[in-house]
C-alpha cells in the first residue's frame, strides 16, 4: 500500500464520526431542533457501544444499543422542547452533562479498577467485491469497515430523503416555516421529535464507532472535542448533507494532515500544527457565504397559538 492510499484510508476512517455526528446535528436542525449535546452523546455512545459489545458479544449489538440510547436522548430533547417548549439550548446542555456523567459512571460500575482493561474486537474491514480491486479508490473507499459504508449510505439517504421525497419536503418546511407546515397538516411536533430522535441515534453511533475502530476499549478522552466540532461542521456545511460530507472530508483531512506534517519531520512546533485544522476551517468560512445558510427556525420552539 503506498503512502497516499494509507493517508486517504486514515482520512476516510476519521471522517466517520464527523459525518455521523454532523448529519445527526443536521437532520435535527433541519426540523428546527438545535442539539448541542453531541459531545456527551458521543461519550455515551462510546461507553454503551463498548460495554454492550463486550458483555453481549458482538459489535453490531453494541452499535444498535448505542443508537437506541442516543435515540432516547434525542427523543427526550425533541419531546420536551415541543411538548413543553423548553429552551433547546438549556436542555441540550443538560443532556450533554447527563450523558457525559452517565458514560463514565457506566464504565466505572461495569468494569471498575483493573490493570487489564477488557477489549473488544474492532470492526473488520469488509472488502466490497469487484469495487475493492480498483486501484487506490478500491482500497480507500471499498476496503473499509461497515460503519464507513453506513456513514456514506446515511449521507446519501439523507440527501435523497430531504430533497427527493415528500417526507423531506415536509421535514424541511418544519425548520423553515413551522406555521406554514402546521397549517397544512404537517405535524410540527412529531416531525421534530422524530428528527431529533434520529439525530441522537446518529450522534451516539458516531461515538460508538470510536472504540470500535481506534481503541477496542472505552477511554475517557476518546471523543476529544469531536462533538463540538460536529456543531461547527453543521454550520460549515450549511446544514446540507452533501456539504457536510465534503466538510467531514475537510475536517478529517486536516486532522490527519496535521499529524502527517509532524511525521514528515517538518520543523514547525507541533502545537501550531495542531491548530491547523481549526484555523484552516475559519479561513474557508470566510469564503463560504454562498452556501452557509441556516434553517430559519433553528433552535426556536414553535407555539401554534403565538402570533410570531
Amino acid at each position: 500500500m503506498n503512502e497516499a492510499t494509507s493517508f486517504l484510508q486514515l482520512v476516510v476512517t476519521a471522517m466517520v464520526p464527523f459525518i455521523l455526528a454532523a448529519q445527526g446535528t443536521m437532520i435535527a436542525g433541519r426540523a428546527g431542533v438545535f442539539n448541542v449535546a453531541q459531545e456527551g452523546l458521543m461519550m455515551l455512545g462510546a461507553s454503551v457501544g463498548f460495554l454492550v459489545s463486550l458483555k453481549m458479544g458482538g459489535n453490531l449489538v453494541g452499535l444498535l444499543v448505542a443508537a437506541l440510547v442516543g435515540a432516547a436522548f434525542g427523543w427526550f430533547l425533541g419531546w420536551v422542547t415541543t411538548r413543553f417548549r423548553l429552551d433547546q439550548f438549556v436542555i441540550g446542555l443538560a443532556l450533554f452533562f447527563a450523558a457525559t456523567g452517565i458514560a463514565s459512571l457506566l464504565y466505572k460500575v461495569v468494569i471498575g479498577v483493573t490493570l487489564k482493561p477488557p477489549l473488544i474486537d474492532t470492526l473488520p474491514d469488509l472488502e466490497i467485491p469487484l469495487l475493492s480491486s480498483i486501484p487506490v479508490v478500491g482500497t480507500v473507499l471499498f476496503t473499509q469497515d461497515v460503519m464507513v459504508y453506513f456513514a456514506f449510505l446515511v449521507s446519501g439517504l439523507l440527501y435523497w430523503m430531504l430533497y427527493r421525497t415528500n417526507l423531506g419536503l415536509k421535514l424541511r418546511s418544519v425548520g423553515e416555516n413551522p406555521k406554514a407546515a402546521d397549517s397544512l397538516g404537517v405535524s410540527v411536533a412529531r416531525t421534530r421529535i422524530w428528527c431529533s430522535t434520529a439525530g441522537g441515534a446518529l450522534m451516539a453511533l458516531a461515538g460508538a464507532y470510536l472504540p470500535m475502530t481506534y481503541t477496542g476499549t472505552y477511554t475517557e478522552g476518546i471523543v476529544a472535542g469531536r462533538g463540538w466540532l460536529a456543531i461547527a461542521l453543521a454550520f460549515f456545511g450549511g446544514w446540507r448533507p452533501q456539504y457536510i460530507l465534503a466538510g467531514s472530508a475537510f475536517f478529517a483531512g486536516m486532522e490527519v494532515l496535521a499529524l502527517r506534517v509532524q511525521v514528515g519531520g517538518v520543523d514547525i512546533p507541533h502545537q501550531f500544527i495542531s491548530m491547523l485544522p481549526y484555523a484552516a476551517t475559519l479561513l474557508v468560512m470566510m469564503f463560504a457565504l454562498r452556501w452557509a445558510s441556516v434553517p430559519a427556525f433553528l433552535g426556536r420552539n414553535y407555539d401554534r397559538e403565538s402570533r410570531h
Partner: protein, 539 residues
C-alpha cells in the same frame, strides 16, 4: 383526498340546511377574552362575509375553525354532523381550507411544493411533482387563478402569492374556503378578479367565508354577512336586506360613535370602488417651499438587487404625499431609504436643504426625519422593554434624555407620562411593557415617539394597518396635525381609500419606479389600480 369534483357532488347530494355552523365559541388568550360565545352559520354555495373592525375576533374565530386555536368552549357542525377539530390536519380532512392573513408559505419552495406540502403523493416515497403541477395548472385555469407552478414563491407578487394560498385549499378539496382579509394589497382590478374567482368557487358548490373590514367589499361579493365587534357577533344579515350605513352602525356600535369616526368608516363604505373617494378638492399649499427632496434614488433589496430605480420627488412644507402600490414593488426599501435606515446605492435625499445620503441613521433622526414603520411588532417596538424605554428609543443620545454617559431616566419618565396622557395610551403606566399593549395603543406609542422629534419629514408606512376604528381616526387626525405644523409627510399605504382621503398628491410606485402621479381632485381608484398593475398611464 377528495378532489374538487367529489366535493361538488357531495355537497349537491348532501342534506339541505347550512353547510357550517359554529356555536358558542369562546376563546381567551391569557386574560384577553378574544371570542365571547360567537355563533356563525354559513349556508351552502354562498360567500359569507365576516365583517368587523380590527381586533373584533374574526381571525381568531376562523383559526378556531381551522384547528389552529383550541376554543375554551363551543361546537362546530359541518354538513349536519358535529366535528371535533383539534388541528389543521383535522380541518383539512373535513374539507376546510384557509387563506391566512399573513400568508403561510415556505419562501424557498416552489408553488407546487408549497401546494402539495402536507399531502400524500401517489409517487411515494419519491417526490414526483409532475402530476400535481398539472393538477395545479388545471385548477388555476378553472378558477381564474393563473400562476406558474414552478416559480419559487419568494419571487412572486402578493397577488400571485394569494392565488397560491387559494390553490392550496382547492387542491385539498375544500368545501369551505376561508379567506382572511384577502384584498389587502390587491389593486382594485385584482380585487375584481379575486371576486370573480370566488363566484366561480361557490358556483361549483363550495362556500366561502370572506373576512374584511371594508363594507364596500362585502357589499360587492357577499351573499350574507356576519358582523363582529369586541369578540361578539352583533348580527347576521343577507346582503340584499341591508345597506352600507346599517353595517357601519353595526360595526361601530352606535350612531353617535359613527359620527365621531365618520372619515374612517365612510372611506371604506362606498358601494363600489372608485366612486367613493375621489376626495375633496385640492388643498391650497400656497407657495410653501420644498422641504424634502429625493433625487434618483437607487436602493438595494434584501437580496442585493436594486429595489428602486431612480425615484425622485419633492415634498413641500405641510404637504402630504402618498405612495400607492402593491406591496413588494419597492415600498419597504423606499421607506427605509428615505428614513435613513437603508443605505442608498445612488441618489440624494435632502431635508431642509441638508444632504443626508451616506450619514448614519442617528443623523437623519437628528435632522428631523421620523419614521413610522409598517410592521410595528418587527420594526417599531422593543416588546419586553417598557413604554418609557420605547419612547426614548432613537433619542437616547439626544440631550433631552442624556446626562453624560447615562440615560436620564427621570426626564424619560416625565416625557412618557406626558405622552401617555396626550396620546391616550391605555396602559398601567410608563413602566408597563410594550408587549402588553394592544395594537392601537402600540401604534399610539410609536406615533408619540415619532412626533416628539418634531419631525420636519414624517414617513408613515401603513400606519393604520390592524388598528380599530377609533385608533385609525386618531392616526388620521395626527397626520393632519403634522401637515398643519408644516411637516412634509410621506404616506405609504396599501389602502387606496386611505391615500385618496389624506393625501394632497399620490404617486404610484411600480417595480421600483414612479409610474404616475395624481393630485387631489383627480383621484380615480381604477385608474390608480391600472397604474399599480404596471399598465401604461393613459391620462
Amino acid at each position: 383526498m377528495t378532489s374538487v369534483d367529489e366535493t361538488r357532488r357531495e355537497v349537491r347530494e348532501g342534506a339541505s340546511g347550512p353547510l357550517l355552523t359554529m356555536e358558542g365559541i369562546r376563546k381567551t388568550f391569557g386574560s384577553v377574552l378574544a371570542l365571547d360565545g360567537v355563533d356563525l352559520t354559513v349556508g351552502r354555495s354562498e360567500v359569507h362575509g365576516l365583517l368587523g373592525g380590527n381586533g373584533a375576533g374574526k381571525t381568531t374565530l376562523m383559526n378556531v375553525l381551522y384547528g389552529l386555536y383550541r376554543p375554551d368552549s363551543g361546537s362546530v357542525v359541518l354538513d349536519g354532523s358535529p366535528v371535533d377539530i383539534r388541528d389543521p390536519r383535522d380541518a383539512i380532512s373535513h374539507g376546510i381550507g384557509m387563506v391566512h392573513q399573513n400568508f403561510l408559505q415556505v419562501d424557498t419552495y416552489t408553488v407546487t411544493e408549497n401546494v402539495v406540502l402536507g399531502t400524500s403523493l401517489p409517487s411515494w416515497p419519491s417526490l414526483d411533482l409532475d402530476d400535481p403541477a398539472e393538477r395545479i395548472a388545471e385548477l388555476s385555469k378553472r378558477f381564474g387563478l393563473t400562476v406558474d407552478p414552478h416559480a419559487k414563491v419568494a419571487t412572486l407578487s402578493v397577488g400571485l402569492r394569494q392565488r397560491v394560498e387559494i390553490l392550496k385549499a382547492l387542491y385539498r378539496g375544500a368545501k369551505v374556503l376561508v379567506l382572511d382579509e384577502p384584498t389587502t394589497n390587491l389593486t382594485p382590478q385584482e380585487v375584481d378578479s379575486l371576486f370573480g374567482s370566488l363566484r366561480a368557487i361557490v358556483d361549483e358548490g363550495m362556500s366561502v367565508v370572506f373576512i374584511t373590514h371594508k363594507i364596500r367589499e362585502t357589499m360587492a361579493v357577499c351573499d350574507a354577512l356576519t358582523v363582529m365587534r369586541d369578540g361578539k357577533r352583533v348580527g347576521t344579515v343577507r346582503r340584499a336586506d341591508t345597506s352600507a350605513s346599517e353595517l357601519a352602525t353595526l360595526m361601530v356600535g352606535d350612531d353617535a360613535a359613527v359620527g365621531r369616526v365618520t372619515e374612517v368608516v365612510t372611506a371604506g363604505m362606498g358601494a363600489a370602488a372608485g366612486t367613493a373617494a375621489t376626495g375633496a378638492p385640492a388643498r391650497d399649499l400656497g407657495d410653501a417651499p420644498v422641504r424634502v427632496s429625493v433625487r434618483d434614488l437607487v436602493v438595494l433589496g434584501d437580496h442585493g438587487v436594486p429595489a428602486t430605480h431612480g425615484v425622485s420627488f419633492d415634498i413641500r412644507r405641510g404637504e402630504v404625499v402618498g405612495i400607492a402600490g402593491v406591496a413588494g414593488n419597492g415600498q419597504v426599501e423606499l421607506a427605509e431609504a428615505v428614513a435613513g435606515v437603508r443605505a442608498l446605492e445612488k441618489g440624494a435625499v435632502e431635508v431642509d436643504g441638508e444632504p443626508l445620503a451616506g450619514r448614519p441613521t442617528a443623523v437623519w433622526l437628528e435632522s428631523g426625519v421620523a419614521y413610522v414603520p409598517e410592521d410595528r411588532h418587527r420594526d417599531g417596538i422593543l416588546p419586553s422593554a417598557s413604554i418609557m424605554e420605547n419612547l426614548v428609543l432613537g433619542a437616547q443620545r439626544s440631550v433631552r434624555f442624556r446626562k453624560g454617559p447615562f440615560v436620564d431616566w427621570k426626564a424619560a419618565r416625565r416625557h412618557a407620562e406626558e405622552a401617555i396622557r396626550a396620546y391616550s395610551v391605555k396602559a398601567s403606566g410608563p413602566s408597563a411593557p410594550a408587549a402588553a399593549l394592544s395594537g392601537g395603543n402600540m401604534q399610539r406609542v410609536i406615533l408619540a415617539r415619532a412626533f416628539s422629534h418634531r419631525p420636519g419629514f414624517l414617513i408613515l408606512h401603513n400606519p393604520t394597518r390592524g388598528l380599530d376604528i377609533p385608533s385609525t381616526q386618531f392616526v388620521y387626525d395626527r397626520v393632519r396635525e403634522a401637515a398643519a405644523e408644516h411637516s412634509a409627510v410621506l404616506l405609504m399605504s396599501e389602502d387606496l381609500d386611505e391615500l385618496t382621503h389624506l393625501c394632497d398628491r399620490v404617486l404610484v410606485l411600480y417595480s421600483g419606479r414612479i409610474v404616475g402621479e395624481r393630485t387631489r381632485g383627480h383621484y380615480d381608484q381604477y385608474e390608480l389600480g391600472h397604474l399599480m398593475a404596471g399598465l401604461e398611464d393613459t391620462a
